[in-house]
Symmetry: C2
DNA sequence: GGGCGTGTTGACCGTTCGGTCAAGTTGGTG
DNA sequence: CACCAACTTGACCGAACGGTCAACACGCCC
């Protein structure tokens, strides 16, 4: 009796969905790729949408791990933001090299796709994106306190703009292949922060 | 014999897809909403993907009309960019008020969704996004020539960043409702241009 | 050993999907 | 009027969809 069935389903589903979209991946696809029967799937997940929520949470956990790694480092706030952007873009490029197709952000598009599926999904999606932009906002606040950043900008606002910018650059990369994504993203983020490139 | 059947299909399909995603809208949905039988649909479109391409082109035509209106105006380049951002965000908000749900960008997500469906789709998607960012790039170039903008930035690069930023802000708005989208987007675009807010 | 909870199996359900088709209907043209 | 092309109709196809179910296997604890 394999105890890792649920994890296997989630892992496989994450890859499949990341490569396209939630709607385009069927429960059957997931089961086949995970070597699991549909009955087992529905033993762990009440519905396909329930899997979607789990996927969103799992992907957010992964992104948050990257955020924590970058933002817990003993470096000035601007450099911590840079480190995350580097890591985030690097992850996307890595997936692209492994799968042959540039993926989008594993969180943003999924959140946008799930949001209309119910109030709980929309709430969760909003929470996740808020939490994410909060990391940027905190760094901006600290940068302003240290004098690295001008005080004129609203940190929460800038945090949201940086998150939006990353989401958009990931989307464009999906279409154009995303060459030099990390460097190009860094300069844009710097501009949004009002800091020299 | 109504000659506007094809147009009606496209118009209805644009609305349905704009509200969710291409994959989540079925040919049946489109036909029912357009008051058309499936046989008629396949008289005009060889496949569902063919409709997707048409939708991408039609939506791009609409966005390009907004671009032309803003960028043909006798105003300095920065103001022309502002005017487009204003118009673009205003259009999204208008759709939101009419349908009750904040839509995403009618072009970007569709391009990203269609891109993996074949080489021709990916090529078309890349062309559209290139053309769009080109409008921004041209304005940046002109702004630099006039001395409104610092010369250090690569216009093509900045154009792409502005487009990505707009795409991302639209995606976030889909989740959070997008209050004050236009104003918030304008300040971010200004920052990316390296111009005062 | 016997029961029980956790997983697993594979067939099955009704619905919907993208797509097809032969038979009709219409409007325009000669 | 006859004819042809453009268009419409509605039934139909096989496959895939999300989801269900009763029967069954295993590990664990009393």
């Amino acid at each position: 009796m394999a105890r890792d069935t649920r994890e296997r389903i989630v892992r496989v589903a994450r890859e499949l969905v990341h490569g396209s979209s939630f709607a385009q991946v069927s429960v059957e696809d997931v089961c086949q790729a995970a070597g699991v029967h549909k009955g087992s799937f529905y033993h762990f997940f009440g519905s396909k949408d329930a899997l979607g929520l789990t996927l969103l949470d799992t992907n957010w956990l992964l992104v948050r791990a990257m955020l924590d790694e970058a933002f817990d480092a003993p470096a000035p706030p601007l450099q911590r933001i840079d480190a995350f952007v580097q890591g985030f873009c690097g992850m996307l490029v890595l997936v692209a090299e492994r799968t042959g197709t540039m993926p989008g952000c594993p969180v943003g598009p999924l959140a946008a796709e799930l949001a209309p599926h119910g109030d709980d999904a929309r709430t969760r999606a909003a929470e996740v994106l808020d939490a994410w932009s909060g990391y940027f906002a905190d760094a901006v606040r600290e940068g302003q306190a240290r004098g690295d950043l001008a005080r004129g900008l609203d940190p929460a606002e800038v945090g949201r703009q940086v998150l939006g910018y990353l989401q958009g650059m990931a989307l464009l990369a999906q279409v154009d292949g995303g060459a030099g994504l990390a460097d190009r993203s860094r300069s844009g983020v710097r501009a949004l922060l009002g800091a020299p490139g």
